[in-house]
Amino acid sequence: MSSAWARFALLAALLLAGCEREKRVYSGQPATNPAGELYQENAYDVAQGKRLYTWMNCTGCHAHGGGGIGPALMDNRWIYGGKIQQIYRSIRDGRKNGMPAWKNRLTDQQIWQLAAYVRSMGRYVRKDVAPSRDDALNSGKAESRRERSAPLEPGR
């Protein structure tokens, strides 16, 4: 192979690497699935989300909405936003101060169900969609009996 060809190949490689250098890699796709909104309208999905909430050890950090290691979910303070699309992103991709990412452990549908259940904790869903009394030790009023928290603060 002539040295001219070698130089050309090297140049081409450098140029291609340059394209790679400029490539944007995002942490994940934005949560703009309009169908996602529908999960919080459905009592079955909210109930499934509640089961996942226990199974995935969410209670270990967020308790039954009151928080502990992680922030409370039944109040109206939202560090990363309280709209269902924002909650979905927090669960799917995780957050840097300790929230783990669940995208490799749960299906997309399960993450939407979890997000829908989180919305019910501060009663941001309809009363007849939010879960009723727990089978386990009572931690306070059932989701359906809670007052709706004050209007959402805009996400930071």
């Binding site: 050890n57 209670t59 270990g60 039954h64 306070g140």
Partner: protein, 582 residues
Amino acid sequence: MRRVATIFLVSLLLTNAGSAADGEWPVASGSPQALRFSDLTEINTKNVARLKPSFTFNTGLHHGEESATLVVGSTMYFVTPFPNYLYALDLTKPGAPVKWKFDPHADPASQGEACCDTVNRGPAYADGKVVMNTLDGQTIAVDAATGKELWRAHLANIRIGETLTMAPMIAEDKVLVGNSGGEFGVRGWIAALNLKDGSMAWKAFHTGPDKDVLIGSDFHPFYPQDRGKNLGIKTWPADRWKQGGGNVWGWVSYDPQARLVIYGTGNPGPWNPDQRPGENKWTSGVFARDVDSGQARWFYQWSPHDLYDHDGINENILVDRDWKGSPRKLLLHPGRNGYLYVLDRTNGQVLSAKPFVYINSSFGVDLKSGKLIPNPAKHTQTGKTVYDICPTAAGAKDWEPSAYSPRTGFVYIPHANLCMDEEGVQASYIAGTPYVGAIVRQKPGHGGYRGAMTAWDVAGEKIKWDHHENMPVWSGALVTAGDVVFYGTLDGWFRALDARSGKLLWQYRTDSGIVGQPVAYKGPDGHEYIAILSGVGGWIGAVLTNRVDVRDSTGANGMASAVPDLPRRGKTGGRLYVFRLG
């Protein structure tokens, strides 16, 4: 003459105790034997009412300030909660300005792996080096004079829920460090690093095969239930020991004569006991190990097959004193399960175990077999709520260390008075997430108070006096040769009690709640000072620092219902207070 005799007696006792007789506070526990006793007498019962703040220092942080403030030479050292800044304050200058500040650049993700707030219990000092732990799992040595990093060792992995919150302990040329993470299905260990370069000298796990636990031919536990091959595997269902806990996040004591490292192990994981039938060795117990090899000498299990998150990590106070007419080498341990244990520290035999709080979860400790006698009516299990269990998951007493005065012969125990309801639920192991399996609701205990400072008479095996507190006491204790006991409260009071009578002699309201460790030292001006970090936090303080919504009684693992009033009683914010006679 009497005064001279007293001084002679005290100095005799101190030589025995190995305390810093020159007025320094070089180790978090005051001495390797963990007495938290200062031989300084300038501040005493007669004049303590004249204490005034000498200087304060704002850390600018809003989580639990649990660090001890070490004083070596004319410099004070302490570590903040995450991001774990290490400060050196120059005590020779007015207002004690910052001499240097070291930032370890800890990973923010570690905040999500800390069960009980993002705390740090303080640094250690030896040979011109200050050694600290970081929440994200590193042990770092810096030059005490300049604050320049000398070495760092990455020991714990936050991806599986391991963190470091304990104060390292330096014994001989070894730095002893243990991991936190008993609520994350972590396998507990203690490691000894070589002080000179941070390389690993030995590491012992607290579950699994004998070779991992460093159990060999030197191991001679006093009771037969602790003898046998590979009990760290056999006392667990298949493979459960791999997530079994037994962490070392509390206090390490050192007996220089015997060259023994003595420390407790944490709770087994998960809390739900139905998921781990067996005695779950070597969790919720106490080990004595050879400092050079790490080989275990003896072990005793405070809570076999623990049912209540009763870690065994509380302080072990090593004293040589009379016991029923003969001099003995003792170990005093106020346990999370509510008993004040007196052990023979040469072999691990239990000499006494009497309750220092109201207990209904067990009936006592059988001194013949050494076994805790559980109350079957309070046995927690999956799918069943058991009401009114006393003490709670946080224990009769949590990590907050007691003090012992050789002058009075009393142990000064800061503690809680709480009970709880608990239901076991199936916990799934998912690496890096909490592995607990219990729904817990804590509440005030009997008697209309939620905490106390209790003086325990070791010889009489009974409570000498109690000073009740409205809220659980989460601060450590200090006792001085001036016969004054110091500690702080969750609502911010820093108090001084008479060590003999328990009478309140002086108090000062700090800006935030106190969960720190008071220390006494002699300043460069020759005067005695008392230092305490204020700044609410820890498991209980998380109700305030982490803005728990107390409508959920299980918030912060049940602390929301124990102190629902904390958010309105106090505010967050770290500040060091140093007092002297005015």
